[in-house]
Structures are given as structure tokens and as C-alpha cells.
């Protein structure tokens, strides 16, 4: 079953970032290959040179719902103004709320996140907070009106995968009815598959595709595993065992097997 946000049905559970690709063409090819459910974008100052327009011309063609982010914001006010400008320009209520709490890990600031989420929810935004994997923070964001949570797997761009699978499992168990997305830190398709196998609703990534040797192929690979990981979760995975159990049955074995 497809994932929907508000009334929009998303074509994929992979959300893709648009930053850091070797060229605009590669970006376009990566989006074509990934067919993502959402594409994330940001904002810059514009002048008559129209730098931002070329980028937009690539993106708009795909007709994929836009998820504007508040990347680079350190304060609540920055985040809110950015969100409002984004809503005006992209005509969407969706906002990836990102408030940097530390410049080295680019980790989200749990405290400002909650305040900003409250304000933005009150202003009618659909807030997708980029957050740590803290359970209490998650509860506060839900209390602040968020129906979607985006905990990190590892620091942005680190490609480390899941630093704390225990915390992520716990979030899934405790918020069975919220949309949970792992955002940031994934490096390999196996990471994305593991996330989906835990029952997460979607995966958001950027660097793992943009900085891959061949971004379009990597984009396609991630799209496939996200779908497959979801299917596997729904199909029901086997539980790991300490010991072995034969797959091939040992019945009606020919005589030479008795010659032991």
C-alpha cells in the first residue's frame, strides 16, 4: 500500500535530496531513476541572474511533491521565516524542519525543534521534523502536533548507517500510528533495507546517492531496496536463531547415507 501524506499519495517510500550532485544532468537522471515520493529542496537569494531558476526548471518537470527544508537554520525565527517563504514559493504546507544544534555533527537541536514545530503546526504547516532518535523528544513533537517524525540514522552525510538501531526500533514500537522516516546518515542500500525491515514508513537520503560513483544507478538501487525492505516487513521476516536448522529434509535418504 502506498504511503500518503495528508491527501497526497506518494509514488515511493524513498525521499531524495537534490544537493551535491556532480551536475544538473546527473541530478535529473538520479531523480528519474529513483522516482522518489518527495524531493527535498532549499532556498537561496535570487537576482536577475536567475541562478535558482535553472535548478527549478529541472525539478518542476518531474511533478513530484516538493519537501522544502530549513537547512542551515540555527534559530527558531530563521526556521519559521524560511518555512513561510517556502510555503509561498512552492505552494506546499510540507516543511522539513531542520534546526542545527551543533555545527560539527549538524545534529538537530531538540529544544528549538519542539518550539518551532508548535509554531509551524499552529500556522497550518505539515511539519516533518529532522530529529535525533530520542523518545521523549518524539513524544514532545507529537504533542506539538507532528504526525510525521524523521529521526536520524547517523550524522548528515556520514554514510555510517544506523548508530542506534535500538532507539529506532523503540520509536517504531511506541508510535505505531505515526509516519516514521529515517533521515540522514545512510550510506548503503543495506542500511535503507534494514530501516524498512524495522517497519519504518520511509527513508530520506541525499549524500549516499549524490556522492556515489554513479548517482543515477545508486538512486535506482536505493529505490528498489526501499520497496523490497517494505515488502519484507509486511511479508514477515524469520526470527534469527542461535542454532542451525536443516533446510533440506532428511527423509527417504538413499542407502549410501546409511553407510556411516
Amino acid at each position: 500500500m502506498s504511503l500518503s501524506i495528508n491527501t497526497t499519495i506518494l509514488q515511493s517510500r524513498l525521499f531524495l535530496g537534490t544537493a551535491g550532485y556532480p551536475s544538473p544532468d546527473t541530478l535529473a537522471q538520479a531523480i528519474s531513476a529513483a522516482k522518489p515520493g518527495l524531493v527535498t529542496v532549499s532556498l537561496r537569494r535570487e537576482n536577475k541572474a536567475g541562478k535558482g531558476q535553472d535548478f527549478w526548471n529541472i525539478i518542476k518537470g518531474f511533478n513530484i511533491p516538493i519537501l522544502p527544508n530549513t537547512a542551515g537554520c540555527h534559530s527558531i525565527n530563521e526556521a519559521i521565516t524560511t518555512a513561510e517563504m517556502a510555503r509561498e514559493i512552492f505552494e506546499t504546507d510540507l516543511i522539513k524542519l531542520e534546526i542545527i544544534g551543533d555545527d560539527y555533527t549538524l545534529q538537530p537541536d531538540p529544544f528549538k525543534l519542539v518550539e518551532a514545530a508548535e509554531i509551524l503546526n499552529a500556522k497550518g504547516f505539515t511539519v516533518l521534523p529532522y530529529m535525533t532518535d530520542d523518545l521523549v523528544l518524539a513524544e514532545k513533537l507529537v504533542d506539538a502536533g507532528c504526525d510525521i517524525l524523521m529521526p536520524w540514522g547517523a550524522p548528515i552525510g556520514s554514510g555510517r548507517g544506523l548508530n542506534n538501531p535500538y532507539a529506532l526500533k523503540l520509536l517504531r514500537d511506541r508510535f505505531p500510528d505515526k509516519i516514521l522516516v529515517v533521515d540522514a546518515g545512510l550510506g548503503a542500500p543495506s542500511h535503507a533495507s534494514a530501516v524498512m525491515e524495522m517497519g519504518f514508513d520511509a527513508v530520506l537520503l541525499n549524500t549516499a546517492v549524490a556522492k556515489a560513483g554513479d548517482p543515477p544507478i545508486m538512486a535506482g538501487a536505493f529505490a528498489k531496496v526501499v520497496e523490497a525492505g517494505r515488502a519484507a516487513y509486511l511479508a514477515g521476516l524469520i526470527a534469527p536463531q542461535e542454532t542451525a536448522s536443516a533446510s533440506t529434509p532428511l527423509i527417504d535418504k538413499p542407502i549410501w547415507h546409511q553407510k556411516l
Binding site: 541530478l27 527535498t40 532549499s42 537561496r44 537569494r45 535548478f55 521565516t81 517563504m85
Partner: protein, 70 residues
């Protein structure tokens, strides 16, 4: 009068019969028709309302466009 556009102060002749509105300024900046959003002194101005915003000395205008993001 002085108006700061994206952080750069700029001089405009004050004309008291026909005061400068935001639409005209954006036209002069050649960004009309672009995919942009505009803030006037920190307030986001809906696309349709540019002509209703009359500028005065010291105003700050921010013009933003889409950019790649993660």
C-alpha cells in the same frame, strides 16, 4: 531613498506622486516572472500583493528562489 535588497543597499529616487511599490522594484530588479518568494521587512508577501506594498526609505527586501537541498 535607501532600500536594502538581499543585503545590498540601493538608492531609489523618491517620487511623491507615484511612490515606489514592491512590484515595480521587482520589475526593476528583473525578477518578475521568476519562481521567487519575497519578504518585506521580514514579512512574506504573497505573489498577488506586490503592487499593494509601497516602499519607504530603509525598507529591507529579501528575494529568494529554489536551491538544491537535502
Amino acid at each position: 531613498m535607501k532600500i536594502t535588497i538581499n543585503g545590498q543597499p540601493k538608492d531609489f529616487p523618491a517620487n511623491f506622486e507615484a511612490p515606489l511599490n514592491l512590484y515595480d522594484l521587482l520589475a526593476q530588479e528583473e525578477v518578475i516572472g521568476m519562481m521567487i518568494a519575497v519578504a518585506h521587512n521580514g514579512n512574506v508577501i504573497p505573489k498577488g500583493n506586490y503592487a499593494q506594498i509601497f516602499l519607504k526609505d530603509g525598507d529591507a527586501i529579501e528575494i529568494v528562489a529554489p536551491m538544491q537541498g537535502g
